[in-house]
Symmetry: D2
Subunit: 370 residues, 4 copies
């Protein structure tokens, strides 16, 4: 279990509005099943504690008021053990629901699957939020001595050529997908060539050493403001100690491995690096088209596509409709998956999205040439 | 001249970081010719006042430091009359340059044209910035008694059908265009139908009266936050006085004309209205393809396209390269032109762009159905 | 022990910059002994963990950098159990130091006593900070079912007359006092009469019901801004539920007892109430002079004296000099003690001080008439 | 007239919330006569323009809503010429009122005098606000070539000894004074010695060169935060250009005269300098007692007294009651007068007050030794 290495104290802090306490993630994913499935589809169900809806609702206006997002770290209660009891309560009732139904309506099944997908998303956030919080701690804590989520390496090099053409984009088939992937449609793409490997720490170091963080013409105006007002000179988890580059990882502070894939850069940094290389980031359509011939899955890859609806996008009715659609402004699409993503929680049509200044996910850079 | 109806006092205030004082616009457009053309291509030229570069540079990092944008309204000097003398000085030298050259290099010619286009853009900003400032004044000032920029009306109704197909997008031909329009390329579009007229005040009133500003599910999460934190219930220039809707215009405060085209809504409002109608905004590509068969030009029309580079976008070398490219993040594209746009400063491939919360331009809504 | 009723989770959050996590209080008071006593006066002493100085220094610039105050709630490590081990380590060495010294220099003795007084101050802050955090929790937690720090009652009524005269102010004698009490000096006071009891909830309710929070002329301009921008209508721990006034206490949410002493109002509120009564708050000199004939000790009593140095105030050399002196601006003096104050941590010359907008201490109002 | 050297443009900007546009000062002082005198005591009077009350009310809650203070610089209308016409209108009616009354009630007379005193205060603010705005202008404008308000010099040196004793404090006599000076009362003072001259630029330079802005122990905690967050190394109007100290004055940018009196430091700076000298600032009572034997009037002198009510302070009824009393929290008292003060607008009992971080007045330092 992701939280096993944590001390109880680690479940509580929220050092940024974009990061949630581990306790909150555990409660919120449970609440999702309680509120979206059990409360609607299980007749005998009574809520574990009516106040929990207020504590664990994230952003569902349809469902009601909630603890303001920046205040999640103020909540010492319910305790971790309360939340674990809550999880057991809801898990049990979910089992009863599933076992007790001879005929399972599609609507319920879909909600259960959505709940599981939702939980997988929060499993990834648990890793990235824990990392973010530990990194700010002057004790330089180690999440796990032999943590796996440290370095990843490219297996391929060079560029893949993709021909001009009309391509199909979007999800197709039987399995699960989010509403934002639906509406398979044609997109015309000019020819392009896309890197088989991701940018490495070494390449990014060269960018830094060439003054990449001091050359305004490589950056968006907004990125330059972000960089200047935060006085940044390198990626978020890098530190220079006595002349040596180190990186904070879930295994603690380590020497930077130049051959490993770069991680934890935001869109501004990804764009500036590509400018410096004289290349660019792929669009999400280019990425999807090329993905079948690429090795991917260790870093969320920034695309130069804004997060917008597909041509026939329809959001679902009710609270579930707030899952994706209301965020389709001012965010950029990331494609692929990361080392922190649940193993079966990725597919070539998956559309992840974040604000351009955020870098706390395991993000990376794949370059494109025309 | 746009500034003729102004009092000297009106040239100074800057009530929002997105709005510049009229005096600054006059100085900045002059500085553009001085710095981009005369200082580079006129050998005998000496600057009118070396300090003006600091005062009138907008955002060109290549050229140097400048008055911080939110501080433009603190600058009482140079005076309006100083700035007018500066304009005469630079205008005269521009004339000398143009008259004195037998062979006019393309590079210089292009810069002169860019300077003129730049000035036209600021002419439009003069109207919108003056309107913004006067609107905040409790004296409810009138810019011009018989101002022209008040109401506009639709000449057409109904929807135009556009067939599925592969269309060419981007500028082509001989005349001027900005770098962001270049790189003509193919885009595949599914069939759609697009409104021949723009949304009217009457239609938007129905949206308000149906509780449009109170229904979270119509809005982006970010739009809902904007609306709530600013406690808004109607568009920026509307006021309800004693039960009657009025709108602030360059001709003063007037009764709202229900038949006129809606103006001054931001992207969040445009999106929410379209959601309420069960329709959507066009993409910038749909707009461009349909534009030949539409009547347009009275309102900048919000599209649901983010402002991103075209496939082979290349920004220019040097300071001029900062004109467009560095803004390609977090903004939305508007197409067409408005009543405040200079007559010859529009074309179907023109890409205007603003942040989604801004509504001080003459913006409007055109709907699309699938 | 004050922290016994807490869950581990309760040791972590910091919902306001003025409030510290219980864990931080435990570590900080320990650090005070380690840094001010052991590190300086115990030759064989080695620090428990060199990083703890960075984590647990509060505001001593002399000693070095530290976790920024608003970030104390981000620190999940060291854990509570680490901190308790740290306390045992330092306690033990303090015992060794004390036992091992045949001749105890006055300087060391004074620092040990200061460390104990410092710890007593933080014991009171533990109560008030725990209360503050629990109050913000939607679970409405109870600190202790039969908590003692709930209601206090006046034993006396009426007013005490004090004659005009020249009085001695400031500490005198053998025991401990802070540097800010020293410099006994004469102050001339006109005659005044001072209430024997403190303002009750009932009296404050009358103020509220008479529109006290809506009458600007009762408030300081700064207090009115505070009230308006926070949209306040009653004291911090009061709530009106279904027409009934309740108050949040360490024993949970309870009906407001009209006969109990008012608690948790800030200086603005104390001043406005006194204005409404046609009376005023005492100066700290009036309070000190009258204190011998008054019953006090259940509420910190706001005075209308600003926190300023006494005529011959001298701050100590070194880090200890930062204890009091550097806060002598923009704060108001409170006199007496509260129910949360350590039993032997009060005397008539004690000068407590807080910013005028703060009300999370057990503060109350004593009125004066001329 | 103070505004004669100004361009119309100079009447408009408001570069800080503490600074008002000259146009606003002209309108506000006129409004004071209109609202406090004519509207109440002149039966036939009709307001010049009913909207002006909204534009020119400063902070009188009793009178009604107003332009928010930070927005005064947004108001291009009424124009300067409108405001001058308004002044003539009100001046004329004030003359009629005064001439037309055979018997002049004391209440009216007092208000007229208050209006004149109020106007004198704003005359001083005109100088300091104009200076503040011009100083921020990169054109480095000159208010007046041969401005008088540049340098002042000490006429006396050494220290004056004042004996311990019971002294009378507060206004007494026939002339005008503000309500905050009233309530003459006794104060007991220990012996002290007070400097006959004010601190000079030379002395302050020595403080800077000795690292005064880098030694935290000289500053209040709040002062140190102010200094660090603004990255300050010298007083507000000083600049170091090519190794030479210069100061901005109403006569433009000039070499710093080491022999002139220091000006434009805030309370934090005054306190830190005194700490560095091993001395202190006087209390307002010490200042008042010594004032008869001192030369003063060129700088407002920071005292170490907070601005608090005198023992029997009574604020006036109605709007006039908001003049002084509601500011008696979080401000420090300054005594004396400055070169910018109207000649007959000073007396030994005058209590000026400002927030400790403000230095845009002509403030100086007088030292005290015990």
């Amino acid at each position: 279990m992701i939280c096993s290495p944590l001390a109880i104290e680690d479940y509580i802090p929220q050092p940024s509005v974009d990061v949630s306490p581990p306790k909150w993630h555990l409660g919120h994913t449970t609440w999702f099943f309680e509120e979206m499935v059990l409360a609607v589809h299980s007749k005998e169900f009574s809520r574990y504690n009516p106040k929990y809806a207020y504590v664990f609702n994230s952003y569902y206006e349809t469902i009601g008021d909630r603890v303001e997002r920046p205040q999640r770290g103020w909540m010492s209660r319910p305790t971790v053990s309360d939340v674990l009891a809550y999880r057991r309560y809801v898990d049990e009732r979910m089992e009863w629901l599933i076992e007790g139904i001879s005929f399972f309506p599609k609507e319920v099944k879909d909600l259960v699957i959505l709940g599981l997908q939702h939980e997988q998303q929060h499993q990834e956030l648990l890793y990235t939020d824990i990392k973010y919080t530990l990194n700010l701690n002057p004790m330089v804590p180690v999440y796990e001595e032999d943590a796996e989520l440290v370095n990843d390496y490219n297996s391929d090099q060079g560029f893949l050529e993709i021909r001009e053409g009309l391509y199909d984009i979007g999800f197709e088939g039987e399995g699960f997908c989010f509403d934002n992937e639906k509406g398979r449609h044609k997109v015309f793409l000019p020819a392009f060539s896309i890197a088989k490997g991701l940018v490495t720490n070494q390449e990014y170091l060269e960018f830094i050493e060439d003054g990449g963080y001091e050359k305004h013409d490589l950056w968006h105006a907004q990125g330059w403001d972000w960089l200047k007002s935060n006085q940044l000179e390198h990626p978020m988890y890098w530190r220079k100690e006595e002349g040596h580059w180190k990186q904070f990882t879930l295994g603690g502070l380590m020497d930077l491995d130049p051959h490993a894939q770069l991680a934890h850069i935001n869109y501004y940094e990804a764009y500036a690096f590509a400018q410096w290389k004289g290349m660019r980031l792929p669009t999400e359509f280019e990425w999807e088209v090329a993905s079948g011939q690429l090795s991917w899955g260790s870093r969320w890859e920034w695309t130069q596509s804004a997060y917008l609806p597909y041509p026939k996008y329809q959001k679902a009715e009710g609270a579930v409709g707030e899952y994706n659609g209301k965020f389709m402004v001012s965010q950029m699409v990331l494609r692929g998956a990361s080392v922190a993503t649940s193993p079966d929680h990725s597919r070539p049509t998956y559309r992840n999205f974040f604000h351009p200044e955020l870098s706390w996910q395991f993000t990376g850079i794949r370059l494109v040439q025309n």
